[in-house]
Each structure stands twice: as C-alpha cells, then as structure tokens.
Symmetry: C2
Subunit: 476 residues, 2 copies
C-alpha cells in the first residue's frame, strides 16, 4: 500500500553545467581556429553556436518574462491573448523578417471555482483540480460514496458497485503513456457503470502535495460526468480508507464549463534565408498551457528555445541559407488544434518544409534528437549535428522516434520531424501542476538546450544538400 | 534568481532494506545461539529485537490506522480528541498495565477558510496556508502591494517602503534552524515598519507546489498582523514580478482565530518492570500535528514507534526489569505545552526517570541516537546499544546532542535524554505540509526504527546498572 519514498537530492551546483560548457566551448573555439579550412564540413559553425549559447542570457530572460508577465495561458483564455501579443512582440524584437498570426478554432473551456472534501467518517479537504474539458457539477455539487479501484480491470470486476458512486482510479505509476489512460478515459469508463463523478490519482511519478491536471475526453454513448485529479497523497488516503471499510463520502464542486468554441492563434515568425529563402526549417513549441501555474517547462521553455535559438544565430551573424520559421502553436493541451490548423493553412507549401523541430519536453539537460523520418534523414541529421554530442558526453543520441504533437500533422504528411530530447527524470514531477514554475528552470541546462537547438537549426538550414528537396507529401 | 532544480530518484526498491534486515537478523539469531552463554552481556537480546522487528507488522498497521481513522490532529481540535481516544485504546490493546491521560492547557486556534490571490497586473491564485497562531484578516480581507525582501537585512534597508504593504520574505533555504526565523518572527518584524500582512516562502528545501505551515509568534509591542506561507513557487514568482517593477497587488483572506485556551491531554501508558518497576524508561512522540494532512512522519511515526517498540518487547516475552512508560505528548506544534505539563505533573518522581527517549524526526532510515546527558551516560548508551549499529552499517552514531522538544523540560531538569536520529534528507520536503502522508512511509525503514528504539529501550530498561540512579534533578 505504501509507494516508494522519494530520495531528492540536489543536482549539480547551479550553473555547474553552464560553467563546464563555457570551458568546453572556449577550448573548442580555439581548436576550431587552428583547424580552420581543414575540411569543407568543418565543426567550426556548431562550435561557434555552442560558444555563443554559453554566453547567452536572452533565452533565459525571455522565459522569465513569459512566466512573469503572461503567466497561465489556457487556449481561449485572456492569458492566451496576452501570450499571443507577447509572442508577436518578442518575435519582432528578436529580428524576424515577418511575423504573423493564424487563426485556430479551439475549445472554450473555463475551470471556475472548484473544491472537494471528504465528508466522513473522517473529514478533510481534498486537494484537487478539475480535468481539462470536464463538465462541472452544477451549483449543488455532487456527493457520493467513493469506490476506489486500482485500474480498469478492478472497475470491471466491481462494476455492480459503481452506480451512484464516485469512482476513484488510484493506479500505480507505470509511465505516462499507460497511466494517463485513467485521466483521459476514466470518466466515461466509470459513467458506463453508473458512476456520478470520477476522481483520479494525479498522473505523476513524484508528488509533494499538489494535483496535476490535463485533458480528458468523453465517449459518445455514456453520460458526461465531472472528472478531477486528486493529489497522489489524497488518492492513497481515500483508497486506504476504502480498503479499511470506512466507506468515505466525498463532495465535489466544480464550476467547469465548456462554452463551445473560440478563436485562438498560432504565432509565426520567419527569418529569411540568404540563399534558399523558399526552403523552411521550422522550429517550434506550444504557447498555450494549463492554467495552474506559469508552466515554465511545458511549454514555455519550448517557445523560448525556438525563438531564442533563432535569435542567437541572428545576433552572431549566422543567418543561414534557408529560412528559419519559428512557430508558437496554440491548443496543444486541448488536443493539438494548432498543429492541425497549421497543416491546413500550409498544405500548399509542405514540400518547402525541409525539417520541422519541436521542443516540448522541458528545459532539462539535452540528450539528443528523436527523428521521425526515413532512415536516410535520421543518418543525415546525426551526421550534420555530430559536434553537438559534446553537449551530453556519453548520453547524446540521435535516433528514430516521435517528434511532437504540434508538428505531428505535417510530419505525418511527409515533413521530416525532430523532437528535442532532454533528461526526463523530473518532467512529470512538475507536469501540469503548480510546480511547473520558473524557479525550476536551470540556467545552465537552458543554455545547453539553446546550443542544441540552434546547432540543429543552423546545421540543417545551412547544409549544402537539402534533406528532402521537393518530396511529395504523403497522406496524413 | 533560479533555485537549483531537483533531482528526484527512487530510493532502494521498496522493502529492500527490510529484506536486508531479515537476512541480517536471521544470520545473527543463528550466531547468537551458537555463542550463547559466552558472555553475560551477550548480544543476544538486541539480536532478538532486530529479528522480531524485521517480522513485525504492528507498528506499520498502527501508523496507517492513525493516519486513516484519526487524520489531522491539531492540539485543541476535534481531530485531537479522536487522537487521544485512539491513543488510549491502542495503549490498552498493546498490553500496557496502566493507561491514563493528563490535562494540558493549550492554545485554541482555528484556521477557518483562507485564500490569497495576486490581483494584478497578472492575476493568479496563490497557494497558501496561514501560519499557526496567526490572527485572521477580518471578513473583508487585506489587500496591498507586495514588498518582497530576501531577508531581515533587506527589510531593514527598505523599512520606509513597508507601511501599508504586504511584506513577503523570500529567503533562500539555509537549513531549518536559520530559515524558520522568518516564519516565527517575520510578521512582527514587518509590522514594526507598518506592514499590514506578512507572507513567507514556505520553510522547505524542496517544493512541488504545496505550502508548509508551522507556528509563528507575535512580539509584544507591535500590531498583530496576519501571517501566511506561500509555496516556494509563488514566493519566487512574486519576488520576480517585484524585481521587474510590476508592483503586484495581493489580496489575503484568513478566518484564522485564537479563541483563548482549551484543555487537551498527554496520553501515558506504563508497562510495569519485572524487578525495578519504580524506575522508568520513558519513550515518546507527540500526538498533535498540523492540520493540513495526516502527518505520518511528524509525528505519527514517533507515536507509533514509541508504542510499537514497547509492544514488540511484550509480544516477544522481553518485558524488561524496569518500567517502560510510553508518552504521547500534546501541543508540541504550538510550542511544547505537553512537555512542560509533564514536568509539572511528574516533578516529584523525576529521579525515577532513568532515561527519556523521543522520536520526532520522521520514520526514515535510522542513523543512531543523540544523547543529551553527561559524557558517562553517552558512553554507557553507546556501549549498551552497540549491536544496533548493524541497522545502519558505516552510518550509525551515538553522540552528544539535543533530544526532543517534548522531553526537553525533564531533560533540562536532569533526566538523561535521547533523540532518535534518522536520515533527514527528505524530512523538510514533507514537513508541515499535505505531503506528510502515509504513502511516504517506507515499511522497511519503519521496521528498522522499531528495531532501533525497541533495542534502546530494552538495553537500558534491562541493564544491570541503572544509568542514573537517584540523581538529584537539576534546575530546569
């Protein structure tokens, strides 16, 4: 019944890795000068990028500004309007040659006030957050006895106990992909057996008392019941009370409401290429976020890295031969509306997209790239970016894999995609919770990521050979 | 401005240490039989204790029951009444020969509802909790611009900016003893310069989005202003906004109220000694807790360990020569009222107290004992408990140091005191927050602590020589 206790320890001293990078790149810059001209594919440019990133403060300041002056930015909200205005202004200030927005139809969902309480036999407040796109409870709230189950299998086995009750899914963490199924589908699975509301254990591997939200979906053929996440702690407590036969009763109150649809925007900035301006290297993050905190890692970091990396190249006179397109997508969290809208709006020019890059795994220390394309492209990217392996000695990998939710539609339509890979140990501790705040950003790790992404962008956008010239887009 | 990011990693596989203990003690039990009779001070008894603890489930079940069926137990609250009833019943069921309660006058403070919000220029809810014994804000709440300072020094330097404002102390973590000063004294230091309310960064070294409460105190000569803790995240965010010149305004609403005093109880159980029943080995924890969670580590664990360790000896026919007195103190959190009341009620028999033991550092892996007594007693305890060092190879220490808040009064009056020492790396991550819940208890670590405390109790209570026979109590 107990979950493993955590052991938290401090990582490297702050900026320890940054200091290491500065030393590394200074040495490399010296080497680069000595071996200059030795080869047409000299490591020089990526060494310059790494050296510049080590001294860069722009991306860190950009992310801090986003967290402080924009904050929460749920698609369709006032915060998202602030975010779009901020993004446009930042792209212009960074030196993009053209900056524009493209409309995206997104769900208009509001959280409203919400609370939950265990009414007895021992009464205590439950720490909770409604799940994204959940219906509310109505002003009277919903009250019921808790049926705590470990998983869908136990729910099916105890289906005749579910009617009129609040079903709590308290599954162990088995990785995000598996555990998130309870968040996404739990409500409809419980409603199918007559449950009046659904609670889940927050989808996280480590908890210190805060709940984690995220999107859920309703099946077509069952009643839509409210769904909320409890903290890991409260879920475990209610489960234990149930096993003890205490029959806890819970009251849930949520003002959550889906108001239909509204218009939101992708923000796009182009830095025109010097020789092949019609060929595009797209680099992106998603600007929308959940509404419980400033969401520094998910995905403030991706937006800051996309723009900051491009800005680094401009600032250091490394404007490449091809166009760099920075995209700040919207409505990733509600289900990828921005990415699909981009595909529709740019279907006619997909064959000009040489590469699409997305950073949406946080700003932890970089570990390489995951390439969603055929093996020749994987090999080409590995080759072009080989010097970047110094950013993560012994751990750097460029390998086939997924790219990103937002670039997914154009990647499935034939554009080679790259996902930015980082150390993921802490990601789900912060993910979709109040803990995803700017104080969790390590300045040194962020600088390493600027180096990684700027290096990738430059390598591909400056390469004499186009990765995928005029390839016919496949079906989506 | 950034704080170091955390690295969380799983500790040993669950019950890994317990499995190791079982192997160890099985081997030891075999050895003990072979060398039986070799020495009068044979290691046999403590090996038996360790073997029994490895197989024990009682203490774990006891702590689970406390967390589930009692829950939050603020001194003077309904929860504390449940706790006292639970403790009495548990002591009787465990086989104590006599069980009684002793009245303690404690503050009667209630939290009520509370919330805080940053009203702008970027609006967001603040995650907060009022500090223990704080006054409330009145029904209208308190609104003001935030003055964020790093420490008392910065407050003094900017004293002329404090009037009418909400002062936020956002100090870096420099260990509990130093950092807790802002929680205890921050409000009066701010009020001295005209502040209308006080916020502090939660006193913790690691945060994932939950606030940490704890007691505060008012100075006599300044207005009593409300005081609350923000999460580390929100404190950092407001500080950053202030540094950016955004001048955030905060509204604080707290129904907190001090209703004067009320009567609460220490719960005491004696297990009569076989040969020297008038000599007492006291083993204790504090039964009261903060009100944000079940407080498994602070100090549910101490109460469970005190009773569970004594019960282990009884169950395995190891009732010692001296009396074991289990004490579940009350009102440690509000300032140690239970400990002072015990001194007053037992001043006449202090010289019968051979040793006082307190466990109030959580149920993490044991690391030895801290002895508050003269050096001969330190040496005697180290000698008597030497076999227990196997519980923490290479890390076990018995050394001079503090003992515990609750036993402090009788220790200062001359009773030798022992504090139970454990790994403290995670303690302040959970401390006084919702994260201090039963799911954070490691079954294996708890069993090791049962072995440590039961071993200490048995060694001293069965020792042919009394540690401190009829010593005259000194001044308090």
């Amino acid at each position: 019944m107990t979950t493993p206790s955590l052991e938290l320890r401090r990582s490297l001293p702050r900026n320890g890795r940054l200091a290491a990078l500065i030393v590394l790149t200074t040495l490399l810059a010296g080497c680069g000068q000595r071996i200059e001209g030795e080869s047409a594919v000299s490591p020089g440019p990526l060494d310059r990028v790494m050296a510049a990133a080590a001294a860069d403060t722009y991306t860190y300041a950009l992310l801090s500004e986003l967290c402080d002056t924009v904050g929460e930015r749920l698609a369709g909200s006032e915060g998202m309007k602030r975010a779009v205005a901020w993004s446009r202004a930042a792209m212009i200030e960074a030196g993009c040659d053209s900056v524009w927005t493209e409309p995206v139809t997104v769900p208009h969902w509001t959280r409203g006030r919400e609370w939950a309480r265990c009414l007895g036999p021992v009464a205590f407040d439950l720490e909770m957050c409604g799940l994204g796109l959940s219906v509310g409870t109505g002003p009277e709230g919903i009250e019921g006895e808790v049926l705590a189950v470990r998983d869908f299998e136990e729910l099916e086995a105890r289906a005749d106990e579910a009617a009129g009750r609040i079903v709590l899914f308290d599954p162990p963490w088995e990785g995000y992909g598996k555990t998130v199924q309870y968040r996404v589908n739990g409500a409809s699975r419980a409603a199918a057996h007559g449950a009046v509301a659904c609670l889940i254990r927050s989808v996280t591997d480590h908890s210190l008392g805060a709940p984690h939200t995220g999107v859920m979906r309703y099946a077509e053929d069952v009643p839509r019941i409210p769904a909320a996440a409890l903290t890991v702690e409260d879920a475990a407590r209610l489960s234990s009370m149930c096993r003890r036969g205490m029959r806890p009763r819970v009251k849930l109150s949520m003002e959550a409401e889906l108001h239909g649809e509204t218009t939101c925007y992708n923000v796009i900035g182009d830095i025109r290429g010097t020789e092949l301006p019609e060929e595009i290297v797209l680099v992106s993050g998603h600007l929308d976020s959940w509404d419980l905190g400033p969401n520094a890692h998910d995905d403030g970091a991706g937006c800051a890295l996309a723009l900051g990396s491009a800005a680094l190249l401009l600032k250091h006179d490394m404007r490449p031969r091809r166009t760099i397109r920075i995209v700040h997508f919207t409505s990733e969290e509600f289900g990828g509306h921005g990415g699909r809208a981009y595909l529709e709006a740019h279907r006619h020019e997909l064959d000009h997209h040489v590469l699409a890059i997305e950073s949406d795994s946080g700003a932890f220390a970089p570990r390489g790239f995951s390439v969603q394309a055929d093996s020749t492209v994987v090999a080409a990217i590995a080759d072009l970016t080989a010097p970047l392996a110094r950013l993560a000695p012994d751990r750097w990998q460029v390998e086939p894999g997924g790219s990103g939710v937002d670039i997914g539609p154009i990647v499935r339509a034939g554009v080679p995609g790259v996902g930015h890979r980082v150390e993921h140990e802490l990601y789900f501790s912060y993910h979709h919770s109040r803990a995803d705040s700017f104080d969790k950003i390590d300045r040194g790790d962020l600088a390493l990521n600027v180096a990684a992404i700027a290096g990738l962008v430059l390598a591909v956008a400056d390469d004499p050979v186009t990765l995928r010239p005029h390839a016919a887009p496949g079906g989506e």
